[in-house]
Subunit: 344 residues, 3 copies
C-alpha cells in the first residue's frame, strides 16, 4: 500500500510543503526513516534528528516548518496526524471469523458469525459476543459476559461472570476483570469475606493493559467510562468509577469506591486511597499519593526529589524533626519581634 | 430464597426493631435497595442515604438506631452482620464435581471425587486435590502440589511444583505461586541465579488476589499463615513469612526473607525491604516504605502530602537542603543563647 | 548424587579446612542443615546460627574462617560458591523433548527436535524455537516469535508477534511480552491510540519475572540487554532500552523511551519517568522516583523515612510550608548579619 504525499494531505486536511508526488509507504522514526517513509517531529528536542533524517517526508507543526527543507506535512498536532497516517499505512490485521475447534463454547452462548474465537478459549453459558470481536487464545469468559462490537481480547485473559465490555475496546493479555473485591468484615481477629455481588461494566473505546486487574463491585458495579485508557499492571478495586477519557498509567492502584472524574490523567505508580472523589480534569504526576478528595482541576504531585543516598538519608532523617524545626523558627521569629518591640 | 426479618435476627443473634414478619430476599446498598432488600449503615457519613433508602430493612449499630424509623436489625458490627446475611441470601454457586474431559490429569495425581476440575486444566504427577475443591479453567498445577479441602482456584492460575495450599482458601485468577525467588550471586559483573530449592506453603482460609505473585523459598519455604488476605498484584518474595490474619492490600511489594507478624495490615503500594522483621499488630498506610525492623505495634506512614505540582516542586527542591536548614537554625539558636548569656 | 568436600574444593577452586573426605549430598540453610548438608555464611549477622549449625560443612569467607571449627570451604564470595555447588547438587530437571499432542503448532513454525513444548501451548505461524528450549503449559507464542537455545518459558506466558528472546533465558509464569505500548494522541478530548509497530528484543541470559509486562516499541524496538534480571510484576514500557547486566526488582515501573545503562540496579517499586537516560552503574533504593537524567554512577534515593502516623502527619503537613520556612530562616540570618554589621 502506498500513498502520494498530496493524497495524505488531502485525506487528513494537512498543509503540504515540498513535492506532492512523493510516495509514502511506511512510517518510521526520524533516525530510522529512509526512502518511502514518513516520520514526525514534535519539538525542539528532536531538531538534531530532524536535520539528519532521511525520511521522504516529515510531519511538522507549522511553527517549525522553517527548520526543515525536505517534504513536509503541516499539522497543529503532528502526533495526531502521524497516528492517523500510521493507522492508514499499517492497518491492524484482523483474524478471520470463526470459532477454533479447540475452544469450548457453551451451547447457550451467542457468538456473532463475524467474530473470531481463537484457540483454547472457554466461553460459558449466556455469554454474548457481538459482530467483529476477536477473542484471543487461552481466554476465559464467565457466565453472562457481554462483549460489544469490534472489541478485541488478546491472550490468556479472564473475564469473570456478568462482566460487560463495550464496543471498540482492546483488552491486553493477562488482564483479569471481575475478580472479587478485597472486602472483609472483622470477626474476633479474623477476616470474613464480604460477598462481592456486583459486576464490572466497561464502556466503549476502552483500553485495558496487560496483567491489569479490575475487581467487581460489592453492591452495585465497578464502572469504567467511555474512552478510558488503562495501562499495564494497574489495580482497580471494587466499586471504583472512572469518568470518560481518563487515562491511567502503569502500576497505579485505586482503592475501593473511589470516584474519578472525566479527562483526568494518573501517571505511573499513583496511589488513590479508598472512598474519595477526584473531580474532572485533575492530573497527577508519577507516584503521587492521593489521600483526600480533589475538588479543583489542576496538576498535583507528592514525593520528594531523588538525590544521592548519602545526602538523602540526612535529609530524610531530618524530615522526622520537621515539625519541631517549625516551632524553633517560630520561636526565633517571635523573639526577634519581641526584641524589636522592646527595643523601640 | 427468602427469610423473615425475625429469622435473620434469631439466626445471627441481632436486635430487631420494627416489623418481624418483613420478608427479606436480597441485599443491596442503601441507594439501590427496594422492597425485599436488606441494607446496612456503618456510620454518620451515610445518614443522608439512610434517610432516603427504600430498603425493607437496614442493619444498624444500636447507637444510631434512633436515626432510622424503618425496620432494622441491630448489631455492634453492622458490616459483619451484613456480610453473614449476604452469604446466607447469596450463597456462592459451586460447580458440580468431576473432571472436564479437556483437562489433562496425570495418572498419579489424586483428585477427590467431590472436587471439580474445569476446562483445560493441567495437573501434573503426584498432585493431591482434596474434597470440595474447585480448580478453574486454564490453571496449571505442578508436580507434588497439594490443595486442601474446599479451596477454590479461579482461572489461568499457575501453582509451581510442591506448592501447598490449605483448606478453605480462594486463589484469584492469574496468580502465580511458587515462581523462582529473585536471588543471584555476583560473578565478574554478571548475575548467576541461585537455585531456588524451597517451596510455598499457604495456610487455611487464605485469599490470594488476581495476578499476585508469590515466590518459592531459596532454602526453606515461603510461608503464608492462616487467615491471611492478600489483594491483587502483590509481590511476595522468597522466604517471606506472613503471620496469621495479616491483610495486604494491592500493589504492595515484600522483599526477600521478611518476617511479618500476626494481624498486621499493609495498605496499598506499601514496600518492605528485605531481611527485616515486623512485629504483630503493626499497620502501614498506603505507599509507606518500610526500611527497618518494626518492633512496636502501631500505625506507621511515610511519604509527603500531595499539593499542586507548582508549589510541590518548590518544597520538594527545598527538601534536598533540609539538613543544611537544620544547621542554620541550630546556629541561630546558639547565637541567640550566646547573646542572651553574654548580655547578662 | 554426592561429592566429597575435597572434590567440591577442587572443582570450584576453593580453600578447604577440616575433613576432606566429608560427604556432601545437599545444600541447606545454617539452621536447617544436618548430616550431608553444606551451608554458607555471608557475614557477622549469621554468627549465632553458624555456631549452632549441624551442617557437615559451611562455605565461609577466609576472613571469618576462625569463627568456625567445623569443616569449611573458603571463598572470597561464599554466596557465589554456594550457588555453584547448589546447581551441581540440585540440577534442574529438564522436561523430555517433544511436542505434547494437546498443543497447537502452526505448520510453518519450526521447533527443534530437542525442544519441549508442553500441554495446551499455541504456536503461531513462522515461530522458531531453538534446541533445548522448554515451552511451559498454556503459553501463547504469536507469529514470527523467535526463541534462542536452552531458553525456558514457564506457564501461561504470552509472547506477542515478532518477539525475539535470546538463549539461556528464563521467563516466569504469567509474563506478557510485546503488548502494545501505552501511546495515544489527543484528539478533541479523546485519546487516539498510536499504532505500536515495533517489537521486543530480549538478549541472552535474561530473566523475566512472574506477571511482568514488557511493551513492544512504537517505532523501533524495546530492548532488553544480555544478562538483565527482571523480577515479578515489573512494567517496562515501549521503546525502553536496558543495558547488559542491569537488575530490576519487583513492582518497578519504567515509562516509555527510557534508556538505562549497564550494571544498574533498581530496587523494588522504583519508578522512572519517560524519556530520560540513566548512565551505567547507577543504583536506586526502593521506591525511588527517578524524574530526570542520571549522569553519574552512584546510589540514589528518594522518599522520607517511616514514622508513627500521628507524628508523620504533622511533619508531612509541614512539608507543604517548607519553602516558606526557608525564606523565614533566610530572613532571620539576614537580619542577624545586618545587625552584626550595624553593631560594629
Amino acid at each position: 500500500m502506498s500513498f502520494l504525499l498530496s493524497e495524505l494531505a488531502t485525506r487528513f486536511d494537512l498543509g503540504l510543503k515540498g513535492f506532492p508526488e512523493a510516495e509514502i509507504r511506511t512510517v518510521a522514526s526520524l533516525q530510522d526513516a529512509g526512502k518511502g517513509d514518513i516520520s514526525f517531529c514534535t519539538g525542539r528536542h528532536h531538531f538534531s534528528e530532524l536535520e539528519e533524517t532521511k525520511a521522504t517526508a516529515v510531519i511538522l507543526h507549522p511553527n517549525i516548518s522553517e527548520q526543515y527543507q525536505g517534504n513536509a506535512l503541516l499539522s497543529e498536532n503532528p502526533l495526531l496526524a502521524f497516528s492517523k497516517i500510521a493507522r492508514l499505512l499499517h492497518p491492524e490485521g484482523r483474524k478471520p471469523a470463526g470459532i477454533h475447534p479447540s475452544s469450548l463454547v457453551h451451547a447457550e452462548a451467542f457468538i456473532h458469525e463475524t467474530a473470531c474465537v481463537a484457540e483454547n478459549v472457554i466461553i460459558e453459558k449466556s455469554v454474548k459476543i457481538a459482530a467483529g470481536c476477536e477473542i484471543g487464545a487461552g481466554s476465559f469468559l464467565g457466565e453472562d459476559t457481554v462483549i460489544g462490537e469490534d472489541t478485541v481480547l488478546k491472550n490468556n485473559i479472564t473475564l469473570h461472570h456478568k462482566t460487560v465490555v463495550g464496543k471498540d475496546c482492546i483488552l491486553h493479555s493477562g488482564c483479569v476483570i471481575g475478580s472479587d473485591g478485597f472486602g472483609h468484615a472483622h470477626e474476633e481477629g479474623h477476616w470474613l469475606p464480604i460477598p462481592q455481588l456486583g459486576k464490572v461494566v466497561i464502556g466503549n473505546d476502552v483500553r485495558i493493559g496487560a496483567n491489569t486487574a479490575i475487581d467487581r463491585g460489592t453492591l452495585g458495579d465497578t464502572l469504567i467510562g467511555n474512552g478510558v485508557k488503562i495501562d499495564n499492571l494497574v489495580h482497580i478495586a471494587h466499586n471504583v468509577r472512572i469518568g470518560d477519557d481518563t487515562a491511567i498509567a502503569a502500576c497505579t492502584g485505586i482503592a475501593g469506591s473511589v470516584n474519578i472524574g472525566k479527562r483526568c490523567t494518573l501517571a505511573g505508580q499513583v496511589g488513590v486511597v479508598d472512598n474519595i472523589s477526584i473531580c474532572d480534569d485533575a492530573h497527577f504526576t508519577g507516584q503521587t499519593a492521593v489521600r483526600s478528595n480533589i475538588t479543583d482541576p489542576g496538576v498535583y504531585s507528592s514525593g520528594v526529589l531523588l538525590e544521592e543516598t548519602h545526602s538523602w538519608l540526612k535529609n530524610a532523617t531530618r524530615f522526622k524533626q520537621l515539625n519541631l524545626l517549625f516551632k524553633q523558627v517560630r520561636d526565633l521569629i517571635k523573639n526577634r519581634t519581641d526584641e524589636a518591640g522592646s527595643g523601640q
